[in-house]
């Protein structure tokens, strides 16, 4: 966790923000000058008012300084907000690009929900950091310096008091702030956990209802929320304590300066206008530091999101991209697994698998659930890279090919296809948005999806809900099949294509699947006997090992 108030990685990652930040710094200097000018004019104005006279020059100067501050503060806000918008857009692009670059395996391991939240709402917390904290951070440097410089000439004794007490603010701030920072981090995690739990609980409500646990779970939610309250109050007692100390340092310093100056006035050792200048400038010296301090806590959420975004988007790709990826081999080539082992964190999905898939072969893969069948397909899609060994197509190692080009040779029907919040047509022509309507209609018919389309209010133009809400699992599966038909690729990978279909629609889909695999190389993960009938070979995956199921060994089963 980065504890600095400004993360230098930001400038490297978002060079476009540099100019805005430089302007922000210049405006901070200008503000400091105007603060001193305003106080000087007001002190003069009031000192002459003491004699009952109106110093029109001082009044004009005061108004001019105030007008100048107004303009500069407007510019500061606008520039800071522009910088925030620029940085957020750049970080979002980075995060999304990281998702694209690392691929699906990495995303699943990254707690998908957190990533999605960070890209959305999480980064908006940066607004508070940029418009609230950063300008104050600049002012907390420029204004005290300008005030001290002015007071050294006016009344060096007061300047000395300020110079000695000012450092107390960052010192106390740092001492108390560290603890508050750690507490805030804990709170952030807790909040996202709470969000996660809330999501989990509400998403699982139908299941909770079946077991009569929905009401009972209300108490769990209340307990969690109450735990959140207690933890928050503990954080706040410390966070507010630091604010209290900082406020005391500032206000007591005003008293410390004002009282001796008043007494010296009695003795005639100082002029009234100088005394007033000291009084007016003293709080100005502390104000930006305190404001920056208090807003630092408020902008912690933004800084944490920033840190997370910079870290996630900078995570090195699991596979170093080859400088010039090899041209993808044809999907109709010979596929060889050479001593492939795939190990995940907890389990080994495949152990030392060697096999050859000849062009045009239809291979069924059977085996108990969790045996590694999906991993076999994941390797061919480039989602999974071998921990040891290699997968080659026509002798070219898949680890070194242009994956997009290779995947164009592959049609994939996953177990659970993700449907997007878009029209049904766009969901089918995923990756091929320019598909002519006729081809789309053919794919729909091939996947036995036409009756589904006919029943939808707007047909193919029907907009699906988030994650395809509105379609049944069987219908989703047929959408996935339609995607594969449209792809028209030489290699077809099917992960239990008929798992969610009844026997009647299975027959329809099976016929379509036969058409699909005709003249293509095909790997089918099969749960249903019907799928095995057409296979040239049957592979059996068990405990990560792949064996050929010849009729003879099948008999031995």
């Amino acid at each position: 966790m980065n504890r600095r108030p400004f993360d230098p990685r930001l400038l490297r990652r978002v060079p476009a923000a540099r100019r805005d930040l430089a302007v922000l710094a210049a405006l901070g200097g200008l503000t400091a000058l105007l603060v001193v000018g305003q106080a000087t004019a007001l002190a003069t104005l009031l000192a002459t008012a003491f004699d009952g006279r109106l110093d029109t020059g001082a009044l004009a100067g005061f108004v001019a300084a105030v007008g100048g501050r107004a303009l500069v503060s407007w510019a500061q806000g606008a520039v800071a907000a522009r910088a925030a918008a620029t940085v957020k857009a750049a970080l979002r692009a980075d995060l999304l690009a990281a998702v694209g670059r690392h691929g699906p395996g990495w995303v699943a391991g990254q707690r998908a929900g957190r990533l999605a939240t960070l890209t959305g709402r999480g980064l908006d917390a940066l607004d508070a950091y940029f418009t609230g904290y950063l300008p104050q951070l600049v002012l907390s440097v420029t204004v005290p310096l300008a005030v001290l410089a002015r007071l050294v000439f006016a009344d060096w004794g007061s300047a000395l008091i300020i110079a000695l007490t000012l450092p107390l603010i960052p010192i106390f701030g740092a001492l108390l702030g560290w603890q508050a920072q750690a507490a805030t981090e804990r709170q952030w995690r807790r909040l996202s956990m709470l969000g996660g739990h809330f999501l989990d609980m509400v998403a699982g409500l139908p299941t909770l209802r079946v077991f009569g646990r929905a009401r009972a779970q209300t108490d769990v939610v209340r307990r969690m929320a109450d735990g959140h309250r207690v933890a928050t109050m503990r954080t706040l007692r410390v966070a507010f304590l630091s604010a209290l100390v900082l406020e005391l340092v500032a206000t007591l310093s005003v008293a410390l300066v004002a009282v001796p100056v008043g007494i010296r006035l009695l003795g005639g050792g100082i002029t009234l206008s100088t005394a007033l200048l000291v009084l007016l400038l003293t709080p100005e010296a502390y104000l930006p530091l305190r404001a920056a301090g208090s807003r630092f806590h408020a902008s912690m959420e933004g800084l944490t999101a920033l840190d997370e975004a910079l870290t996630v988007s900078a995570a090195p790709a699991t596979v170093a991209p080859t400088a010039t990826p090899a041209v993808a081999p044809a999907g109709s080539g010979e596929i060889r697994f050479e001593n492939v082992t795939v190990a995940y964190d907890r389990t080994t999905a495949l152990r030392d698998v060697t096999l050859t898939v000849r062009p045009g072969e239809r291979i069924a893969v059977v085996g108990p659930s969790g045996a590694g069948k999906s991993t076999l397909l994941g390797l061919l899609l480039g989602f999974v890279t071998p921990t040891a060994g290699r997968v080659t197509v026509d002798g070219v190692d898949l680890a070194h090919v242009d994956l997009d080009g290779w995947r164009r040779q592959v049609a994939w029907v996953p177990q659970r296809a993700h449907l997007f919040a878009a029209s049904l047509a766009d969901n089918i022509r995923l990756g091929a948005p320019d598909t002519p309507d006729a081809a789309l209609a053919t794919a729909v018919a091939d996947a036995a999806l036409d009756d589904v389309v006919a029943a939808l209010p707007d047909g193919l133009a029907t907009i699906l809900g988030e994650r395809g809400h509105g379609l049944s699992s069987g219908q989703r599966q047929r959408v996935a099949l339609a995607r594969a038909f449209l792809r028209d690729a030489p290699l077809v990978l099917l992960d239990e294509p008929t798992a969610r279909l009844d026997t009647a629609s299975e027959a329809v889909v099976l016929a379509a699947t036969r058409r699909l695999v005709q003249g293509r190389t095909a790997l089918l993960v099969a749960h249903r006997p019907a799928l095995l009938a057409d296979a040239d070979r049957i592979l059996r995956v068990q405990d990560g090992r792949v064996t050929e199921l010849t009729p003879a060994t099948e008999a031995a089963r």
Binding site: G67, R69, W74, G113, T117, P206, M233, T251, L252, A552
Partner: protein, 587 residues
């Protein structure tokens, strides 16, 4: 719901904590007054000292300056603690009530994912912000303004007039302008932010599909384009928004200058002119806090309205569960009799009914399978039986009483099991199982898990029962997730057990074994309603019902059904042929 109505709803929620909130408001006022008085007194001290009075005339002012300097910080500290404590207590209530309301909704709860849910979390926080950042500081600023004008009026009514004008602009006109600008900005930004959140969900959760179909680049371009459009919009809106803050800076200075001018004209003494000027500067700056409060309030309105709408739903206790003498209660016993009488379910007006006049008798201890093509109404039948879906016509009775007459949280003691799309929670294996029966011991867990064929896997895990299953059960394979859900249903062991496709996602051999062991693990007196698309393993059941388009087209025992022509026999032959083909692979 309108913003005003939503805010009234918040006040109703805040009622138990009103005294704490008023106390926090008064402390906030005291804080601001102490700050203002500190500067005014210090100015009086200096300007009086310039007249060289005897020192003892200044002693009170000197003491006051020191006391005010200390009290301001202390007031602020207590105010913030008191305010946060009150509001956080209230938020605990709100979170629990929001969940309770969602939990009390019958029927399929609307799919709430990603954007909708993170919004729910932040909406609840809106209630907190409305009180802490809008009402408490707003009330304090208004009170301080009144006190300042009153104080100034004692010295010079004309100067007080100028101050009042400045405070009105700072406390009313500028906040109104800020509200209008913020609202306009939010209306323009919100749709883009929502769309971007959906993009993020699609890109993250659909990463595999996008990659496989080469659509990642296209989706990335769409999302990045949206992020850029959002940035352009935010940049454009920034300039207008901060004009209000600039006007506030200008206003403070002009008010102070005006006060000096008017006070001098009115012949106010020099010392008091200074006090008025410095006091006016501080007072206007305090009132400017209302600009920030107005912005907050505007940003919160959408979230508040959603929370208020949610909480305005009939309170959970009134939801058909109000105990009257006529309400039947689930009696703890081993068997229950269920009857479906002419049940009709229609999900959308005009659409074909999912169930079209279904009759079914399920006396205690009977085991019935429901089969049929996909879309025949099998899952709807299961959902009606568990009370998740209510019939549009006809009725379902449990022990002679209409199912809907039972309290929602009592019904599961009699009827329950494994429904379609059973949810696996982001928790440990044990916690997921205990949902079925909270007081189950390890032996019972092992028995149920064993019957579902997951026990060996659990034993293999280093953390055993405490293995975390990951987000949406993501650490499990599809088959393991299904077995876990089945084990949970078997552990619950309700007298009427519903199993909707209990072996979905398992290969044939495993499916047959799991179905057999699950049925064997169900106590003899318990009724079973098994929904299946597979016809294997049904020969031991008391009755098989074939559904098609929401109607019963065949019923009988397996041995009878395979002998008469009809859907069941056709399907059985198809399946047999497929299975024989499978077996025919062997020589």
């Amino acid at each position: 719901m309108s913003t005003a109505a939503a805010e009234r709803a918040v006040w109703r929620l805040a009622r138990p904590y009103l005294r704490r909130l008023v106390g926090a408001g008064l402390l906030a006022t005291a804080t601001e007054v102490a700050g203002l008085a500190l500067m005014a007194t210090a100015t009086w001290l200096l300007m009086s000292a310039a007249g060289r009075p005897p020192l003892d005339r200044l002693t009170v002012a000197i003491v006051a300056v020191r006391a005010l300097a200390i009290s301001r910080g202390v007031f602020r500290y207590t105010e913030r603690l008191a305010g946060h404590d009150a509001v956080l207590r209230m938020i605990t209530d709100v979170r629990a009530r929001v969940f309770a309301t969602l939990a009390a909704r019958r029927g399929p709860a609307g799919q709430r994912t990603g954007d909708a849910l993170s919004r729910l979390v932040s909406d609840v926080e809106a209630v907190q912000d409305l009180l802490l950042r809008v009402f408490v500081p707003g009330a304090a600023a208004a009170l301080v303004g009144l006190l300042a004008v009153g104080g100034a009026a004692l010295v010079s009514p004309p100067a007080a007039g100028v101050l009042a004008v400045g405070l009105l602009v700072a406390g009313v006109a500028l906040p109104t302008a800020a509200t209008v600008l913020t609202r306009r900005a939010a209306d323009e930004v919100a749709p883009l932010r929502g769309a971007l959140a959906t993009d993020a969900v699609d890109l993250v959760h659909g990463a595999a599909d996008l990659a496989a179909f080469g659509a990642t680049g296209q989706a990335l371009r769409a999302a990045t384009g949206r992020a850029d459009r959002l940035a352009r919009l935010e940049r454009r809106l920034a300039a207008a928004g901060f004009a209000v803050d600039a006007a506030g800076v200008l206003l403070a200075g002009l008010t102070a200058g005006g006060v000096v001018l008017v006070a001098l004209r009115a012949g106010v003494g020099g010392v008091l002119v200074g006090v008025l000027a410095v006091g006016a500067l501080a007072a206007v700056e305090t009132a400017l806090a209302l600009v920030g409060a107005a912005r907050q309030r505007t940003q919160l309105r959408a979230g508040l309205a959603r929370v208020a709408d949610l909480l305005a739903e009939p309170s959970p206790t009134a939801d058909g569960t109000a105990r009257t003498d006529g309400t039947p209660s689930v009696v703890e016993r081993a068997t229950h009799d269920v009857r479906f009488e002419g049940v009709v379910v229609r999900y959308r007006a005009g659409a074909a009914p999912a169930l079209a006049g279904l009759d079914l008798d399920l006396p205690g201890g009977r085991r019935v399978a429901v089969v049929g093509p996909s879309g025949a109404g099998k899952s709807t039948l299961a959902a009606v039986l568990t009370g998740a879906v209510r019939p549009d016509a006809g009725r379902v009775t449990l022990d002679g009483h209409d199912l809907s007459a039972y309290p929602a949280d009592e019904l599961p003691r009699a009827v329950g099991g494994l429904l379609a799309e059973a949810y696996v929670f982001h928790a440990s294996v044990r916690e997921n199982l205990l949902l079925g029966r909270p007081d189950a011991g390890d032996d019972e867990l092992a028995a149920a898990t064993g019957a579902a064929g997951l026990l060996d896997w659990v034993r293999d895990q280093p953390d055993g029962w405490d293995t975390m299953v990951g987000e949406e059960g993501g650490q499990l394979s599809g088959g393991q997730r299904q077995r876990l859900a089945l084990a949970r249903a078997l552990l619950a062991a309700p007298p009427v057990l519903v199993l909707d496709e209990p072996t979905e996602g398992l290969d044939p051999a495993a499916a047959d074994a799991v179905l057999a062991s699950a049925l064997a693990a169900t106590p003899a007196g318990h009724s079973v309603l098994l929904v299946s698309h597979r016809l294997s393993g049904l020969d031991g059941l008391d009755e098989i019902v074939v559904l098609d388009a929401g109607r019963v087209i065949q019923r009988g025992r397996h041995a009878e059904l395979v002998t008469v022509p009809g859907w069941y026999r056709d399907q059985w032959l198809v399946q047999e042929a497929a299975e024989r083909g499978y077996l025919a692979l062997a020589p």
